[in-house]
């Protein structure tokens, strides 16, 4: 054992990226001059050395099997000398030095069910979280809802007919491990029932001061229940952040009757034209309706088309709404403006309308 421990390596870090770069990239690293989109899902980067690198971007679910990875490897061996990459939004990208290989590769990708697209004025793959597939705090599923939304918006992935880019992200609870809060459209799972305290396990599993301190609205207080130390929840102070549940398993919020989905719009991370923006609440709540979530896919299609039909060229969702104003957006979308749309947490006042700049 002692010997084995001595041999055991730790902290050696990831393999160096250089060994994974195709020769054409090594030769032209830092020398790329410009790029052109040749057709949806295909672009070429041209180097100062006149070398040309073709990229074919294909859709991929974030959840993939080793069988699929091997299929991608087979295609990369056949067309790309054994190299390929993934993007920050779960797409798979094949890097070709021979233009003639583009169409055969696309045909082979179609055979295994992977369309190409997602470049330019398109909707690309949805960044998302684990959902019911692998998470304890999910208020909705992630992979399934993403599949339904992208099935419905498929035409906008494979074509470039939108005014600008549209980025959709999904997080299945407010923890937002997918950090969806700056997306053109964010789908966010929400809980709406305060935690139900399991007094029989709390004392064993949780540190009461930590649980109390975890609540941003002081809704969790120490309490003695049946002679045992535990906590109580002031339900009217709960805003369903689930931070208490994260620190204490005895405070579950998951509840089929009250969990569901909210839709947020108009965020962006790019600095192009306007500064980065947070997404704002459009639809406070839609119940979970698996396996196809038709109410969610319809709501999102309506938002996409409203923007597509009214925005100016290059205008992102948030830029368009900032130009026309939120009252007009609500009128055009037919979405009812409700109390939930008005912020009531810290710094809420900064979001109130503080001028007479109004349209009628």
């Amino acid at each position: 054992m002692a010997e084995a421990m001595q041999e055991r390596r730790t902290d050696y870090g990831p393999p160096h990226y250089e060994q994974f770069l195709p020769p054409i990239i090594k030769e032209n690293y830092g020398k790329w001059k410009y790029h052109e989109v040749l057709k949806p899902g295909v672009m070429v980067h041209v180097s100062e050395t006149d070398a040309k690198l073709y990229t074919v971007r294909a859709a991929s679910g974030r959840l993939i099997s080793i069988d699929k990875i091997r299929m991608f490897c087979d295609l990369a061996d056949k067309y790309c000398d054994g190299y390929f990459r993934f993007t920050s939004r779960h797409n798979v990208e094949f890097l070709l030095s021979k233009q003639d290989n583009i169409e055969p590769l696309i045909a082979d990708l179609a055979k295994i069910g992977h369309p190409i697209g997602g470049i330019g004025n398109a909707i690309t793959s949805i960044v998302h979280t684990q959902g019911w597939v692998h998470c304890h705090s999910a208020a909705t599923d992630a992979s399934g809802l993403v599949k339904c939304v992208m099935d419905d918006l498929f035409e906008y992935f494979v074509e470039t007919k939108l005014p600008g880019k549209l980025r959709i992200a999904l997080a299945c609870c407010l923890n937002m491990c997918g950090a969806v809060h700056c997306s053109d459209i964010a789908i966010l799972g929400v809980h709406r029932r305060p935690p139900r305290v399991d007094h029989s396990t709390l004392r064993k599993m949780c540190e009461i001061p930590n649980v109390v301190a975890s609540c941003p609205t002081a809704a969790v207080r120490p309490a003695t229940v049946d002679g045992n130390p535990s906590v109580e929840v002031l339900e009217e102070n709960c805003m369903f952040c689930a931070n208490c549940y994260t620190v204490c398993p005895s405070m579950p919020l998951n509840d089929p009757l009250n969990d569901g989905v909210s839709i947020w719009i108009g965020g962006k991370v790019s600095n192009a034209r306007h500064e980065p923006m947070f997404s704002k609440l459009a639809i406070p709540f839609i119940p979970n309706n698996p396996p196809r979530w038709p109410e969610v896919t319809t709501a999102i299609r309506n938002l996409v088309e409203l923007w597509a039909n009214n925005a100016r060229k290059y205008e992102r969702m948030g830029e368009w709404i900032n130009r026309i104003g939120w009252p007009k957006f609500f009128k055009m979308s037919g979405i009812e403006f409700q109390k939930e749309h008005i912020d009531d947490f810290k710094h809420a006042g900064l979001t109130f309308k503080r001028s007479t700049h109004l349209t009628f």
Binding site: I66, F86, S88, G113, K147, D259, N271, N288, K313
Partner: protein, 395 residues
């Protein structure tokens, strides 16, 4: 397909449609062992009941590491015994997510032997996610990974696996070498990455230009975003070519310029670079004609995060411009000072952005010995309640 699959009418609906189906992926993985089939069964039950069936976390890991493995247990272990343990391993991805098929096939072989055969390519933080294995397979999986030189990534209150855009490898807009910096910081901070000792998580994200393809300004505690400080490189012939081919330079480019620093007289594009805010729009629209300047580096911003718990933040400027060159001492010195203050004074589960809001950016700057500059704020304070620390007294 495996023949051991449970009856899943709800999930089977999600095999239909044109978008790639994760249900097909789970079914493919089911031929490598019983885990994926049980996962399918439990997920079908979640679809019927509209609730997840995973227990809350659990502390598991590999020897010598405090993070990188997410413990996961089914709350229906009798019904789905093959996923009673279903832990996730986060594997530190190579910078830029470039692979050889040889390396990926090796990972697949390990995961066929040791786990469910399911992965995420990639997780939100950027890691390769190996989805689902049992506690007794964690250490053997790590041993196998050592054999192919892949190491574990971060989780919990530690440095999370740094990630970056493809940078100079495949982008003409990269204003610094994102992949080199990512690799260097990852190697330099291996201890912080593998042994959680912070108040909460800390993320670095490297984007090569202000388009910010890895969303670093929204989700990194330190966002390192490439920029330039000299003049946009203009090829006037190429600009005219865009115009000749039908681009309306006035409406598509000039009127979208946020700083109104450009003019087009039908022949030449004039840019007053002293007012350009480096937004990238004109360069995005005319990549053959315009390029970022030659004096390149990065803006460093700090403090972004998702809502938990004080609300969502975007990162704000710390250094308006610095050169990004090895050995990156200025970044490392700053990071070390930031971590010292935050680790000493930060509260449990307080991100550094929240910490800065609590103590005040001015005080935080004092503590890390950086002078305030106007680029750090959208505008000076509006509220007159200034916390002066000293006053004069008559002798």
């Amino acid at each position: 397909m495996a023949d051991n699959l449970p009856n899943t009418p709800m999930l089977d609906e999600l095999e239909k449609g044109k978008w790639p189906s994760f249900v097909k992926e789970i079914k493919m993985a089911a031929k490598h062992g019983p885990m994926a089939a049980d996962l399918l069964g439990q997920l079908e039950q979640s679809y019927n009941e509209k609730i997840g069936h995973w227990k809350h976390g659990g502390i598991v890991g590999v020897m010598g590491y405090g993070g990188g493995v997410i413990g996961r247990y089914s709350d229906l272990p009798q019904k789905f015994p093959n996923i009673s343990h279903f832990h996730t391993m986060r594997i530190n991805q190579p910078a830029g997510w470039f692979y050889t098929t040889k390396a990926l096939r090796s990972i697949c072989d390990i995961w066929e032997k040791r786990g469910s055969g399911l992965t995420n390519m990639h997780g939100s933080t950027g890691d390769i996610i190996l989805l689902g294995t049992t506690t007794d397979q964690l250490e053997p999986t790590f041993t196998d990974l050592q054999g192919i030189d892949f190491d574990i990534g971060g989780s919990g209150s530690d440095l999370r696996t740094p990630s970056c855009c493809c940078g100079m490898a495949r982008c003409e807009w990269a204003c610094y070498d994102t992949m080199a910096l990512t690799y260097d910081l990852t190697m330099h901070y291996q201890d912080e990455l593998h042994r959680p000792a912070f108040p909460y998580k800390f993320k670095f994200k490297m984007s090569g230009c202000p388009n910010d393809c890895v969303a670093s300004i929204a989700r990194a505690d330190m966002s390192i975003i490439g920029t330039w400080r000299d003049e946009i490189q203009v090829d006037q012939d190429a600009v005219r070519e865009y115009a000749d081919r039908g681009l309306d330079i006035q409406s598509d480019v000039i009127s979208n310029c946020p700083s109104k620093c450009m003019e087009w007289d039908g022949k030449e594009l004039h840019i007053d670079n002293s007012f350009c805010v480096r937004c990238m729009h004109c360069i995005n629209v005319m990549p053959k004609a315009l390029r970022p300047g030659k004096d390149r580096g990065a803006t460093i911003l700090i403090g972004s995060k998702a809502p938990i718990i004080e609300g969502a933040f975007l990162s704000s400027v710390l250094f308006p411009f610095i050169k990004i060159e090895p050995p990156y001492d200025m970044i490392k010195d700053t990071v070390d000072k930031m971590w010292d203050v935050w680790c000493e004074e930060g509260k449990n589960r307080e991100r550094i952005g929240e910490f800065i809001q609590r103590v005040g950016l001015g005080n935080f700057l004092d503590a890390i010995e950086i002078d305030p500059v106007p680029e750090m704020v959208a505008h000076p304070r509006e509220n007159p309640y200034v916390f002066y620390e000293e006053y004069y007294e008559e002798d």
